[in-house]
Symmetry: C2
Subunit: 159 residues, 2 copies
DNA sequence: TTAGGGTTTACCATCGTGGGAAGGTCAAGC
DNA sequence: GCTTGACCTTCCCACGATGGTAAACCCTAA
């Protein structure tokens, strides 16, 4: 099977298939005499597995581990569960971070007239030298802004 | 003020300050005779504005617009509100996408024994050739998997 | 045989951030 | 004065996952 056919069958772009091979996520494909990559059903199966894991937001690094477990017939399901749980935790962290951003913005937007006048609490707030929590560390149970920001949007998925 | 002091005061790293200057988000800083960048209180103020906007998840491109409005004393608050609303919409889309991923994973995890045996519904599901909706287009009101994936995690914020 | 489509590699871009090297500058202490 | 350490400068590289393009090669059907 050509890379194009494998791509269609697995729903992974040819570009990405070559990339996955390059970074070692998948083993180098067999080649025809003329240098074309040749794929088997099993290869497509693995690519599709990858594709579905990506759709669930797993990073390539995490998928490396998932593939390892997938191929390990003596795996312990606890290991898979732990990987998945870690990923869920990460997702939850990022969701939480974005919810906070959105909540802050929604609160600001509610106070903005949104008319022809220049006064705007949104800009006003961005301008303020730290309104709510400012003193460096601790006090309330609020998540440190730094942490919020860091957790915000790693692992892009724009294909 | 040195770039180091401006960095501390604005909570924007020196690296980022230079980068923002390079991409034109902020005007080139004045220089001392020896070539050091020199910042005023106003410059720090602007950097801090940027920092706060980044913390709310605005991209540099969006902040360009926000800064434009900030400097425009004859702005209409409606314009600011529209920008903010668009950003909220984008955040909501990404949150929704990640919630779906997390929900799927949580459902799978509930079915995983998590013990020493190899059987695992998580791997099993990743292995399946598209369980629920498979036929190419439309049918239920489900969001196309493609769209979900694309909206997943743009705009990283890892500093 | 030729035309059109698929494939190969190689490079560039994204976006925002950090890291580091090589060299210049400044201020404090001797 | 000179040294030392902290700072600054520019320039390049890396990340992660993906898309784009270009030049060259291959395959197949007409």
């Amino acid at each position: 099977m050509n890379i194009g056919e494998a791509s269609k069958a697995s729903k992974v772009s040819a570009k990405m298939i070559r990339y996955y091979e390059q970074i070692g996520l998948i083993p180098p494909a067999d080649r025809t005499d003329s240098g074309y990559r040749a794929y088997t059903q099993d290869d497509v199966h693995r690519l599709h597995f990858i594709r579905r894991a990506r759709d669930l937001g797993f990073s390539v690094a995490e998928i490396t581990d998932l593939l390892g477990l997938w191929n390990d017939k003596s795996r312990q399901s606890a290991d898979v569960k732990r990987l998945a749980q870690q990923h869920i935790d990460e997702l939850d962290r990022r969701i939480e971070s974005m919810l906070e951003m959105a909540a802050t913005l929604k609160a600001l937007i509610r106070c903005c007239a949104g008319d022809e006048r220049p006064d705007c609490p949104i800009l006003h707030t961005l301008e303020q030298p730290d309104t709510s929590d400012d003193e460096p560390e601790a006090r309330t149970g609020a998540v440190p802004r730094r942490a919020r920001a860091s957790a915000a949007g790693k692992k892009p998925r724009a294909h």
